[in-house]
Amino acid sequence: MTAPGLLTALLYGCVLAAAVSSGNAEAAAPWNLQPAASRLAADIHDLHEWVMILVTVIFVGVFGFMFWAVYAHRKSVGHKAAHFHENTTVEIIWTVIPLIILVVIAWPVTKTVIAQKDTSNADITIKVTGYQWKWGYDYIKGEGEGISFISTLSTPRDQIEGRAPKGEHYLLEVDNELVVPIGKKVRVLTTAADVIHSWWVPVFGAKQDAIPGFIRDIWFKADKTGTFRSQCAELCGKDHGFMPVVVRVVSAEDYTKWVAEQKKLAAASADDPNKSYTLDELKARGEKVYAANCVACHQATGKGAPPAFPPLDGSKVVNGPKNDQIALELNGKPGTAMAAFDKQLNDVELAAVITFTRNAWGNKTGEAIQPSEVKALRK
């Protein structure tokens, strides 16, 4: 056997050895995929492990030859160069065998791809909307239909800016978690209001871009209860790193209870857009809305971060005609990061936050904007 022939034979011997060795059981480790909480994610982990073993063996095989040459075929140990420079048989073999290995890899992967794409027969359908920089969840079909909320990062700015010690779930905690029942097929429709985001829960093997103007879908079926945390996976502007995805998987009974609670809560806390509020009521409520929605760009001081994020303190818009400001908040400002809040906030919240900005810091208009005024300007 010629030297390259021997080389090839050894190389593929290693590959065969790899094919019969089995994958390891998964464990939570800071260097590996997170432990799966769905069948699909478990399949993906198995694929990954299998392919990793395969490529590792090939890698060791190929570079075994390189390092052997480095060790034994050195000029300094007096090795004289051979002069072969082609061998058609060997070259055909090492083209064909990788192709066969690729087919062997492709077969199981194809089955998983097809399973991953099958979003039919879902028990619950939830629409996920990406906003700069928070997630909106609407339960649109199945148990819990009608529930709707916005999920925003709840890590305090003090922790992010180093003025307070960081909590256990730093950057992975939200005010309203997505709640789903165990063992039910959940179809997730993704879309976005402004730019492309990506909704991602690694333990379910589910990641789907949320594209403005289009609806895409994926599915997952959780087989473990617990709270699972992740983050937006597509660069979506300044606070891309600050819009976590948190999903709580609960038992069927707990889910029914949660749905009942949500419905009750929604009925009790429904804001009445026809009521008239006092200036102080609006300012107090507005400060909270501001802290949840505006502070990331316009800052707690109202000074913003010009020029991308203009100051509100002393702003011409905030101190100008109120209808202009209401329209701006409702419709956003195209071509800038100023989002349209008409779908994210209700009339009372908008009236409150507008009132707050017009009477905070150096702004002293003394005006109270009523929800009815906002309602009148909605398109």
Binding site: P4, H48, V62, H73, K80, A81, A82, I105, K207, H240
Partner: protein
Amino acid sequence: MSAVIDSHGQAHDHHGGGYGGIMRWITTTNHKDIGTLYLWFSFIMFMTGGAMAMVIRAELFEPGLQFVNPDFFNQLTTMHGLIMVFGAIMPAFVGFANWQIPMMIGAPDMAFARMNNWSFWLLPFAASMLMLSFFMPGGAPGVGWTLYAPLTVQMGMGMDLTIFAIHLLGMSSIMGSINIITTILNMRAPGMTLMRMPLFCWTWLITAYMLLAAMPVFAGAVTMTLTDRHFGTSFFNAAGGGDPVLYQHIFWFFGHPEVYIIALPAFGVISQVIPAFSRKPLFGYASMVYATSAIAILSFMVWAHHMYTVGMPVTGQLFFMYATMLIAAPTGVKVFNWVATMWRGSLSFETPMLFACGFLFLFTLGGFTGLVLALVPVDIQLQDTYYVVAHFHYVMVAGALFSAFAGIYFWLPKWTGRMYDETLGKWHFWLSMIFFNMIFFVQHFLGLAGMPRRIPDYPLMFETWNKISSIGAFGFGLTQLLFLYIVLKAIRSGEKAPQRPWEGADSIDWTMIPTPAPYHTFETPPVIK
């Protein structure tokens, strides 16, 4: 680089009324001068993009926001990517092409010498425009080097400057490509058939065709972005009948071939260096040519593997997955050929060979993570995580950059007539090797564990690997200052190089041209037997 010192006088001899000083460099039409300009430009850009990477890694040293705000962080990641790809790596290989192709095929110069001057001189203006975008209202674009719509529509004037800079860079690349294709096809010496050319020339010939096909597509994508921003079009806006995903399709139709536009010339350099230090001809020359062509063609058919998560139909995902996996075959052929070239050679490990072996080892590792990422379900877990960042830095840094270092050390004696300091060169290699892996190997772990890319702050569980990565990055950055010192030292006071410092190097640039190469070479074509 040599030309400054060695051939100044000759420049005057040969150019009646030629310029001296700075005007010589501005007006030069000499392929060697222009190669030198490209290489120094590339090094300056490499340092600029590298400085940005240092700030990025400093911010990521620990959780929380310490040095930069998230907005500026995004600007840095965007500019780091654009500057490294278009300012550092691509011009470096065009620099090699300018210096080496005419000398390797027995041509007196590039085919279009004046256009060659213009190709280069567009670059400093493009780079200045890119850098100026930082000082525009709103700063540089913070959208990632991929410039995805519709985030690009939200950006300030910096975005427009970036778009125009890309237009200029594209013009430069296209003119450079036309020059290289024409030179190789029309100016080979008698007897220098295509299949006798050094493989470096083949890889550049194929790369140049790829540039011609890909760059106009990118120019189109950014121009559509420009009109969406200012002229009311809606190419990428669903509200006006467009589609944000269309941008990604157009971008990656350029973007994936771009990966090979960078990788193929790197393969070319490695295919010169490994045989030289193995003292044995390149194994499988013809199959190398075919594999390179196969990679080039396949690379235009795999673009959507960057977009598995946008929600393609299952048949689309499967097509792009199979096509992508197929690239492993010709790439494998190349790696096997390089190893077989070393096999039973008479090996020595001067700095160029060390970088070539480092390239071979780490580029293959990056190739394997590429295969992992080609698999749709696995990619869905890893897309837009640090795993991808690790993968493409293995290909771009350990692949392209290491091969560029190999090329510089290999050809520096030819260009300057002087040797670099071998001990320092070896230090440069080993430090680069260790720090590179420190930065990027651990990023595979971060990606697997779920850390998204392009975030300025991260959850606590990712802290350890990020610290290691940052320390590696600072080490890698400092090591490159050593490289600058080595090159300057060689130019100023290096030992005189013999005609053929590498006994195994047998292309005509080594065998038929004195060292250092005179200002004009092959004024009458040599006859290749």
